[in-house]
Amino acid sequence: MKGSLLSRSLLNIAAVIVFVCSVFPVYWMVNTSMLPGAKIKSTRPSFLPESLNFSNYATALGDGFIPAMWMSLAVTGLTLVTALVFAFMAALALSRFTFRSRKSLIVAVLVIQMVPAEALIISMFRLLDGWHLVNTVLGLSAVYIAMVLPFTIWTLRGFVQGVPADLEEAAQIDGCSKAGAFWRITFPLLAPGLVSTGIFAFIQAWNEFVFALVIMTREESQTLPIWLRSFLQATKATDWSVVMAGSTLMALPVVIFFLIVQGRMTSSMTSGAVKG
């Protein structure tokens, strides 16, 4: 085992570099958000927050964060739940019944991803307008659900296939109904798949920017990305510490969500999120 200690240390150093590069912008955002307004205009950056100063958070919070957060939570929640249910049903159909749509599904996922969303906005806006769904949670969610469905169906299908159908058949022989066998045997085994699919849908809906910008025209119906953007414009543009506080507030629910599902997440990614 010659040189193994050296290569181990090099490997660990590389790992630390990757960690620092990944996390640094996140740290810098939080660090800047705690700077007092005067300190931000300093040519010498302070690498540690000198005190835990939350006044920038108060400023951001007082400027429409709460309603925008509820809007984002509502849209993301509705998208997440509906997309998971619909995608789960479709994934079952595609992997538990005799179909030959596996290939066409893969192609459809890729082709839908290719269409630039920016070109569909006007048509979508008109569609929603005709149904009086502009400026509504339902309208924006409907668009998001349709956008995440191809990918979520595809990912979930991989997981459903990963659970052998024999397990269900065995349970049926032992006297379970087909549905009962499914709920008791297969469904629990699919939990990691639902988690990793859910993460994808959550990130997409929480961060989406263009459709929210066009569909949620009223100030009281704006989502967090649109709220954050308003900070960047015009008068507020220079107040970086408040912008960073706003950014941190927007990233916080995602981090909380990640922490909740984190344990299952790594295992779910390994158990075959992208089996193709």
Partner: protein, 312 residues
Amino acid sequence: MLATSDARATTEVDTPRSRRPQLTPMLLLAPAFIMLAIFIGWPVVQMIVMSFQEYGRAQIFGADPEFIALGNYTKVLTDPIFWAVLGRSVALAAVCVVATMVLGMAIAVMMTKLGKLMRTVVSVGLLLAWAMPALTATIVWGWIFDTSYGLVNWLMTKLTGDNWFGHSWLIDPLSFFGVAAIIIVWGAIPFVALSLYAGLTQVPSEVLEAASLDGANGWRRFVNVTFPYIRSIVIVVLILQIIWDLRVFAQIYALQTIGGIREQTNTIGVYIYTESMASGRLGTGGAISVILVAILLAISAYYIRLTLRNED
């Protein structure tokens, strides 16, 4: 759409248990396919139709659109601005995709060799970066590269001894895209690294051991043993990266808001948005979109065929 009509047709001949297998999959597929047909299918059809029409502000306000055959396409394809935007987007996407794939693969391979603790540390770091919204990430990076008070300019001043304060990274298109590439690659690596790592853990270790007993070195083992196992994942991730990077929107748009000259830094995603939304030229916007999809299909056609063949 097919699924729905089928579902309805089968509902009418609903017979008990024996027929279930036919009806159930259609019912299961129906909600997803109805959503897709309405909210993706219909707008796509409209986009294609409009790309063959004179469709501007007048039409938005109710005038009848007029079919002009390939008029929009000739207009777009003879416009030097379009070619400049396309060239820029392709160059940016190429740099970003290569950097993302190489670094993502390197990190994934590294993760398989790390101890449990360090592996957790790395995946937590990746997850944190992944959790950061593209818009937020762009704002933070914009702040790091800020003209007067940015960390980068401070660091450059420290390192070179020259005065970098006041140097604007966003005003020059080349360094604008340098910053953009950093943001895009940084944001894309977690998905690629974690997906590829997930794939790598599926490679049976016995096969790798056998290969190393046969005298294959690390690189040969990777090329001949590991890679074939993860090839389908690599291809799919690669195609997704090409698609996402070529039509990148949020990062460029937000970076332009912070600083930067719009005309010189537009990528095709932003260009389609300005053309359709700001200028109201839906006809040309549609034509550009159709051209973009055609380009993406051409790029990925070979790989799609390859993937399909491997699926048998």
